[in-house]
């Protein structure tokens, strides 16, 4: 079973190691074919966030460091994934090259806080748009719609969907502390003890390998990454039972910035960058399809 993890790690780390191999400079997604276009001296209206960022020549972005395919930090400490590529494109539209981006880890529990404190200008971190979060921050996008699913070992024929959890209280399910999926799955459980929560999905997968939990639940795209690397050790079961539109978190009420981000996303889709970024990252996992950019929500 450990070979599973190793293959996966190797696969995911390859990108990072290739980077590290090229002299160890922090050139972001250097070497990949999806280099974001960096606008030269873009013009923005005085006083907007875009003007401030372009003026500063650098920006700080929050992302996940442990999400295969979306934001995963390799040995050399630069994250890569679909979220990272999308963020790089938006930054490029403001004249910020990938090497001028400072990446900050944005775990599920602290994303609103990072924006409220002004620690980051933007959070792109598999960040589900919902109303509670809208009270504290503004979302641009969505740029992708995921759905929650369940992953089990291939030989598990007990769990075929979330409904089977309540009838099988000995089947323990794992998710990440304080995440939306952890909250969503609660209503399907026989008792609260049937849920185990860790800080990162990697630990859930280890627990599955060790037989300490029997299922892992989170958004399908993340699980697909684990299934792809498992050489048939895991499978996804049941339909997606939620809809998770991923948005880009920015400071609350910054409508101009929000609209700018939405335009940037549209340009990314039109120019083919969106598709290339997907194919180079999360799209590498078997069983994923190239998504279409969803219609943006209204900026509020």
């Amino acid at each position: 079973m450990r070979t599973r993890s190793l293959t996966l790690a190797a696969g995911l780390a390859t990108g990072a190691l290739v980077l590290a191999g090229c002299g160890g400079d922090d050139s972001g997604s250097g070497g990949s074919e999806t280099e974001p276009t960096v606008a030269e001296a873009p013009e923005f209206a005085e006083g907007t966030t875009m003007a401030e960022i372009a003026e500063a020549g650098s920006m700080t972005i929050g992302t996940k460091f442990d999400q295969p395919g979306f934001g995963l930090q390799g040995l050399d400490e630069t994250p890569d994934g679909f979220d990272v590529r999308i963020a790089e494109y938006i930054a490029g539209q403001m004249g910020i090259a990938p090497e001028d981006i400072t990446w900050t880890e944005a775990p599920s529990a602290q994303r609103e806080e990072l924006l409220e404190n002004g620690d980051v200008e933007m959070v792109v971190a598999t960040y589900t748009i919902n109303d509670e979060r809208r009270e504290r921050i503004t979302f641009a996008g969505p740029y992708y719609v995921a759905g929650q699913q369940i992953l089990v070992a291939s030989d598990n024929d007990v769990i075929a969907g979330p409904e089977d959890l309540a009838d099988n209280p000995d089947q323990v399910v794992c998710s990440v502390t304080g995440s939306t999926p952890a909250e969503n799955i609660r209503e399907y459980l026989a008792s609260p003890g049937q849920l185990v929560e860790f800080g990162i999905y990697d630990d859930c997968i280890s627990a599955l390998d060790n037989g300490q939990v029997q299922a892992v639940t989170t958004d399908n795209v993340i699980l697909t990454g684990f299934v792809a690397g498992s050489e048939g050790a895991y499978k996804l079961v049941g339909e997606q039972f939620t809809e998770e539109p991923y948005g880009i978190g920015i400071e609350k009420g910054d409508v101009e910035f929000c609209e700018f981000v939405n335009e940037a996303l549209q340009e990314a889709a039109d120019s083919g960058y969106y598709e290339e970024a997907w194919t180079a990252t999360a799209g590498q996992f078997e069983g994923t399809e190239v998504p279409d950019l969803p219609e943006p929500d209204e900026c509020v």
């Binding site: 529990a109 009270e135 502390t177 185990v196 280890s206 060790n210 300490q212």
Partner: protein, 217 residues
């Protein structure tokens, strides 16, 4: 504090879950700690060294590392399939036992050598010596520091919540603050109060016990 009061059941159930961890860990670490202390005062050099090695290793390793080691390193390496409540508790026991061992050992060593000598001179056997003369006196010097070790363990049990035990006091905070979207300050304050109730109660009990024993001296 309103968010806490609205979700009081979350904290109350968390309190009981944490108490459960604490009681198991207290029993376990006292047992293992006393065994290790016995090793260290025994006349068998191998056991002495084993005890010393254990204490030196564990005392110099951070709790975080010990707990993660038991939660993830051990199951993967040895194929253990216990749940995380058990693994977290075992980690806490392994860590705390080193400190229990040291306080017990220093208590035994603090008994005046003349006492045991006198007992032996009177013809008491090793076992009589231990149970009638040395241990009753050692107990008095052992209880206060061991009590402090146990109180420290109660506090350390908060870290167990970080490695996958769900439903304890610390994960009550996590759930409140992230998934349910409450402000972090009141959410963590609720957890803090829960632990204060536990540690202050334990402190009060310890004080009463110490006083009792002081009187009987």
């Amino acid at each position: 504090m309103e968010p806490v009061l609205d979700n009081l059941d979350l904290y109350v159930s968390g309190f009981w879950r944490s108490l459960e961890i604490v009681l198991w860990a207290a029993a376990g670490s006292l047992a293992l700690g006393i065994l290790l202390a016995a090793f260290r005062v025994s006349p068998v050099p191998v056991l002495q060294r084993l005890g010393a090695l254990y204490v030196a290793t564990i005392r110099n390793t951070p709790l975080t590392i010990v707990l993660f080691f038991f939660a993830f390193g051990v199951p993967a390496a040895f194929g253990v399939t216990w749940d995380f409540f058990a693994l977290g508790t075992v980690g806490l026991v392994v860590y705390t036992a080193a400190f229990v061992c040291e306080s017990v050992r220093s208590g035994v060593n603090a008994v005046d050598a003349g006492q045991a000598e006198a007992a032996r001179a009177l013809g008491l056997t090793f076992r009589q010596n231990l149970s009638l003369v040395v241990l009753p006196q050692a107990l008095r010097t052992v209880v206060p520091p061991t009590g402090s070790v146990i109180i420290a363990m109660i506090k350390n049990s908060a870290v167990v919540g970080a490695i996958g035990v769900s439903g304890d006091l610390f994960s009550a905070y996590r759930r409140m603050a992230s998934a349910l979207g409450y402000e972090r300050l009141p959410s963590i304050a609720g957890t803090a109060v829960g632990f204060l109730v536990m540690t202050l109660t334990a402190g009060a009990i310890l004080m009463v016990v110490e006083r009792r024993m002081a009187v009987s001296r």
